[in-house]
Symmetry: C7
Subunit: 96 residues, 7 copies
C-alpha cells in the first residue's frame, strides 16, 4: 500500500482481525481501562521534528506487528479495508 504516506511522527496501522489476534496468543482483557489493540504497520512517517530542525529516527518499521493505544488514532477506509493513522507514541510495543 504505497497510497498513504503518514506525515511527521505518524504511522498507518491495519488493525488485526479477531481470528488473527487469537492465533498470536495475545489477549486484551475487556476490563482494561484504556484497551489496546493489535495490528500491522503499513506505513511509517519521516519521524518527529526535533528542536534543531532534524527528524528523529523511529523504532517502528513497515510490517511490524504492534500493540497500540486506539485512543488518539484516526480511522479511514481505503479500497474497502480499514486503517488507522496514529502517532508513533501511541504504539506501545512490537510483538514477536
Amino acid at each position: 500500500m504505497a497510497k498513504i504516506r503518514p506525515v511527521g511522527d505518524r504511522v498507518v496501522v491495519k488493525p488485526a482481525a479477531k481470528e488473527e489476534v487469537t492465533k498470536s496468543g495475545l489477549v486484551i482483557p475487556d476490563t482494561a481501562k484504556e484497551k489496546p489493540q493489535e495490528g500491522t504497520v503499513i506505513a511509517v512517517g519521516n519521524g518527529r521534528l526535533l528542536d534543531n530542525g532534524e527528524r528523529a529516527g523511529t523504532e517502528i518499521k513497515e510490517g511490524d506487528r504492534v500493540l497500540f493505544a486506539k485512543y488518539g488514532g484516526t480511522e479511514f477506509k481505503l479500497d474497502g479495508d480499514e486503517y488507522l493513522v496514529l502517532k508513533e507514541s501511541d504504539v506501545l510495543a512490537i510483538i514477536g
Copy 2:
C-alpha cells in the same frame, strides 16, 4: 491561487467534493471519533519557527492530496470557493 499566503506552520487546503472522494477509493466512516477529511493543498507557509530562530522545512507541498483532521482548521471562502487554513500538524497523511 496566489491570493492567500498562510503564516508560519500553516497550510491552505481545498476540501474535496464528495464525488472526488469516492473516485480515490478512500472512505471515511461516519462512526469515526475525529472524522478526517480529504483535500488538496493550495498553499504552504514558511514552516514552524524553531527555538534557534530558523524555520523548519515542511513535508507537505502545493498540489498534495491530503487526509486532514478538520478539527482546529478555520474555514473561509474566496471567489466563491471554500478553503481551510490548517496547522501542518493537522495534516495526517499524503495520499497517492
Copy 3:
C-alpha cells in the same frame, strides 16, 4: 499611526469594514466554528523572544492585508477608530 508599538510577538490590526471585505472576494461563513476576520496590519512588534535571548523575525509587516483569528485579541479605540492587539500566531494568512 505611530502611536501604538505592540510589545514582543504582538501586532496591531485594523479590522476591515464590511464593504471592503466584499470587494476582496473573501467571504467568511457564519457557520465557521472559529470565525476569522479580515484586516490591515498597522504595527508589528519586535518578535518572539527565543530561548537564546534573541528575537525571532516575523513574516508579517505593516500594511499587510491579513486573515486573523479574532479569538485572543484585545480591542481598543484610538482617535475614534477600532483596533485589535493580537499575537502574531493569531494571524492565519496574508491576503493578496
Copy 4:
C-alpha cells in the same frame, strides 16, 4: 518611586486616572472580552530568566505609557496610591 523593585519578568504599573485616558485619545470599549487598561510603568524587573541562566532584556522601560491586560496583575497601595505588579507579557503595547 524607588520603593518597589519587581522581581524577574515583572513590572510595576500605575493605572491612569479616567481623565488622563480621555486626553490620550485611547478608548477601551466596555464590550471588550478581556478589557485592557492604560497606565504608566513605574519600575521594571531584571527580565525573564533564560534557559542558559542569563536574563533576557526587556522592551519596556520606566516612564513608558502602556496598554496592559489587567488579568493576572496584582494590586497594592503604597503611600495612598494604587499600583499593579504585572508580568511583562501582560503589557500589550507602548503608547506614543
Copy 5:
C-alpha cells in the same frame, strides 16, 4: 519472553501474585491514594528520545523487582499470563 518489545521509554511488567508480595515484606495499604503495585520487569524499551535525537539510558533492567504506579499502564494477556506496558516514569522504585 522475547515476544514483546516495548517502544521508547516504556517497560513491560508482570504484576506479582498476592503470595509473592507477602514474602518480600512489602505491604501496600488499602488506604493509599494512588495505590502502587509490585512486579517484575520483563522487557525494557530503548529509552526516552532526547531533544538532540539520542536515546536516554534507563535505570531499569530486565528482571528488576519494582514498585510501580498502576495508573497509566495498559494491561494485556500473552499465553495466559497478565502483563502491563508502563512508562519508565511510572516505575517508582527498585526493590532489593
Copy 6:
C-alpha cells in the same frame, strides 16, 4: 534562623505582622483578586535547576522585605513563629 534550608528555587518567608505593614506605607486592598502579602525573607534556596544542570542565581536574599503571592506557599510553625515556604516566582517585588 539556620534551622530551615529551602530546597531548589524556594524561599522561606516570615509574614509581617499587621502593625508592621501599616508602618511601611504599603496597603493591600481587600478587593484584590489574588491578595498579596508582605513579609521578610528568612532563607533562600540554591536556585532553579537549569536545563544544563547548573543552578540559576536568585535576585532575592536573606533579610529582603518582599511582597509575595500567598497562593502556592506552604505554612508551618517553628518555635512558635509562623513561616511560609514559597517558590521564588511567587515573590512579586522587593520593597525599599
Copy 7:
C-alpha cells in the same frame, strides 16, 4: 534500608512519628491549605534526567530531616514500617 532504590528524581522518606515532630519545635497548623509533613530521607534516586541525557545532582541526601508536601507521594509498608516515595521537588526544605 538498602531494600528500596527510588528511580530518577525520587526519594524515599520515613514520616516522623507525632512525638518526634513535637521535639523538633516544628509545628504544622491544621488549617494549612496544603499541609506539609516532617520525615527522614531513607534513600535518594540518581536525579532528574536532563535534556542532554545526564543526571542532575540532588541537594537532598540520606539521613536529611525534611519538610515535604505529602501531595503526590505514594505510600507503602516494608517490614512493618510506613514509607513514602516522593519526587525531589515535593521536598520543600531541609531542617536543622
